[in-house]
Symmetry: C4
Subunit: 203 residues, 4 copies
Amino acid sequence: MDEKKETSRVEAFSDGVFAIAITLLILDVTSAFSDASKLELFGLLQQQWTVLLAFLLSFATIGIMWLNHHRLFTLIVRADHTLLVLNILLLLAATVVPFPTALLGRYGADMVNGVDVKNNGANFWLATILYNGVFLFVAVVYNFLWRYATHKRRLLSRDVDMEAVRRINRQYLLGPLFYAIAFALTFLSPWLSPDTYTQVLAC
Amino acid sequence: MDEKKETSRVEAFSDGVFAIAITLLILDVTSAFSDASKLELFGLLQQQWTVLLAFLLSFATIGIMWLNHHRLFTLIVRADHTLLVLNILLLLAATVVPFPTALLGRYGADMVNGVDVKNNGANFWLATILYNGVFLFVAVVYNFLWRYATHKRRLLSRDVDMEAVRRINRQYLLGPLFYAIAFALTFLSPWLSPDTYTQVLAC
Amino acid sequence: MDEKKETSRVEAFSDGVFAIAITLLILDVTSAFSDASKLELFGLLQQQWTVLLAFLLSFATIGIMWLNHHRLFTLIVRADHTLLVLNILLLLAATVVPFPTALLGRYGADMVNGVDVKNNGANFWLATILYNGVFLFVAVVYNFLWRYATHKRRLLSRDVDMEAVRRINRQYLLGPLFYAIAFALTFLSPWLSPDTYTQVLAC
Amino acid sequence: MDEKKETSRVEAFSDGVFAIAITLLILDVTSAFSDASKLELFGLLQQQWTVLLAFLLSFATIGIMWLNHHRLFTLIVRADHTLLVLNILLLLAATVVPFPTALLGRYGADMVNGVDVKNNGANFWLATILYNGVFLFVAVVYNFLWRYATHKRRLLSRDVDMEAVRRINRQYLLGPLFYAIAFALTFLSPWLSPDTYTQVLAC
């Protein structure tokens, strides 16, 4: 039981950051509807659906990040300085998510509505690259954190379920590879990225 | 005592999300008063009382959601993947609440103040439908979560008070029905919805 | 030890709300400096010092509310439905604080800088009344919560320090009286309210 | 084990404040990109990189503050009124960080982009002074808190690792001195401050 204690504050701080990042996402939606308040609400909903979609995608993303965090920290029970720093890098990614989400929603809306046609192709493309870049970063940091914690069972509980550890090991081999390919494909075209389609299914 | 542990992090994360969602509501009030800062404060208070009312309604709503969550999780002591996902759906509803609240407050103010008379009937109506839709969603998800957790006592404590479980079962039969009727009535007219009147009393 | 458990989630939720409310206060400062970004920073600091003062006052206020909450809940160890509802009323007050703070800072700045002289007297006055009204509400709710919890030791620990209880009883007799007088004096003139001066000392 | 309990709520409240302050930083980035939404995204990223840099610097700063807090409170196990007040002063500094960050990012962008050349030298300078002033304040308050808690082992665990205490003592002698020199150098020129360069390395 003394073993459990060490990571409880890391978890509390992380829960706080995840909770705030996931809740702040709605502010983009509110402000997108507020900036264009001249229109009828029904027209707004038709025009700004990309903002709502970006909101749902990012909500799912941070939700999945939290589920992952929860799963890893049922197995990780000790904390050292390196783990804390890797964890803060993860939280950096979580707090950054609202930024590319806002870009994606806004430039997506611009493109769908045919505003600034010349630029928007490029803007939406760059927004998709940034968005996918954050996912790749998340996948890589989760891998580092997990490899570091499990190396010679460094930070694991003594009576850890090794089958669960191996199952995560296998999944975490494929994750970054998938995101790296998604990231690379996005450079070719925003529509080629499988990320946008599979994100929600990854749960 | 080992039984208690499993849901403590779900509760902490949920507490964080509820706490932020309930606190962000005030931002709509501040910004509604900031946008119209040319007026005298007294005139502003008269003009924007719908924003204040929407704030109080939504504060009560999220407060009640938290009370419900608190009540369920004194009985639910174990967590599995399905529960975590259902819980994230609940939190989605909680974080979304500030958005229809902002719409309701703003279009309500527009209607009360006779701005854009032609459109506002429709805008306010649509805002009420969205607002009631969120409530219906909340009621349905709480039901699923509760049925899932209590089915064959799946996630309940071994020494759970079955009388308390049955009491919640009975209440949860009526809840979604009530919200579905409220939602349907709102389609006829925003003023027919019993929701707006009984929300605060549901506590 | 089983006694301790009941209020831990109430405390976690309250900590979250207090933490967010106290942190959101800085947003008013940032936005006040952002709206007037045409000016030199040095001139801005001179012009907007009332916004900074209002920030510090409200930070102290919510900080003191948390200290009070912390003190009461080291003595209160059980929770029932009434306590939860009274606690949510307290949190309502905490989340509302940023709103009159923003009004006080903005109309204070207007008055200090001689903008809209005719209206501002009234605006600043009304802002002060709202600000003091929130304090009075806080003091009254804390009293109700405390009287309810301590009545026949209803929600106290069995081995509670009765001397600490009596000390709080005495302080809580004077608190609402003080705030009621402050509130009444504010109706005569914003400068008569002892609140503004003594708030920070009340710690 | 009873010893551990006293500071758990201080830690929870502090975790909340740190988590929110660190997450709110992204709002400056989002709004800096939103205000200038006329431009292409690629041009925006080139123009507003100081905002991104200020975000990363402040994220690192609050991250380091949390790491420090975490380290001190593994040794501090008891809480009294003075500790709570000193802790609230620390949290004041954490919540204030987004404000000078926003100033630094904005006036830095103005200077880099040659907008308002005459004023910006002074604006950026003053922003740097405020930014360094917050760091000095943080270093001084951490020192007070630590000296207070360790004086005659006042708030330490009975079986505390005295070697860890002495190691922190030595580091905390140099910290404020370093920040005071950095603060003084900033008065000469914003570029002389070693702070900006070493902040991230201090981890």
